[in-house]
Symmetry: C2
Subunit: 132 residues, 2 copies
């Protein structure tokens, strides 16, 4: 899996890494039970601090996307991905809120916004279909 980080972005690196691992899971490039590099290897591979990778892995573990074994190392949760519970749906709503607010200010129509979401959903779903 190819990791691309934008050091100019105002999104923290640990979050960018987390987003890309989650995107890899969504695209089924990373499958349940698959190993991820150790904190040390990942940090060396992509040229970032150990603590940054550690933060990413711990947040992914908290969300239920990965398991961190003392012996087996870091693996994508073999029991599959966590589900969308009420807490997640509220977090999602809170994350969408400022995006919708700024889009309304800038005159983006609901339909345009929707099309953008659909195209992103398709990006993930089509890859899923291809991988079957």
């Amino acid at each position: 899996m190819y990791i691309h980080l934008d050091f100019e972005s105002d999104t923290p690196i640990y979050k960018q890494l987390m987003h890309q691992i989650i995107a890899g899971i969504a695209k089924q490039e990373l499958k349940p039970g698959e190993s991820l590099p150790s904190v040390r290897t990942m940090a060396a591979d992509i040229g970032i601090n150990l603590h940054t990778v550690n933060k990413t892995y711990h947040q992914l573990k908290e969300k239920g996307f990965i398991l961190i074994h003392r012996q087996k190392g870091v693996v994508i949760n073999p029991d599959g991905t966590p589900k969308a519970d009420e807490i997640y749906m509220l977090q999602l709503k809170n994350a969408l809120y400022p995006l919708v607010a700024e889009s309304v200010c800038r005159g983006v129509k609901e339909e345009e916004f929707r099309q953008l979401c659909i195209s992103l959903f398709q990006e993930f779903t089509q890859r899923k279909d291809r991988s079957k």
Copy 2:
């Protein structure tokens, strides 16, 4: 306008403040030409650091939402809100990408995601209609 900050959130305070001011503009609670409190007053009112408010105001200025006058102080851009150009649409897509990725992982359907967006759009649009 009532500002609510969540000090437990992993969204930086300067960004939370920025989001709330943009939401205020979207809801037309803050109108073109309207004054915002000075950096010093805003910081004192909501109990945060001067530099945090400064960062919010400078980002809002860069985006084109406010003007910072030496004499008149801080005002909502009297020429209206900035438009959705290609750069904005790309930023929006990049911001939606991890939200869609995690939603796909968690089994949120495209339709559910869409309904959430529609309800948020309505939250802003209905307020706009009421204020006419």
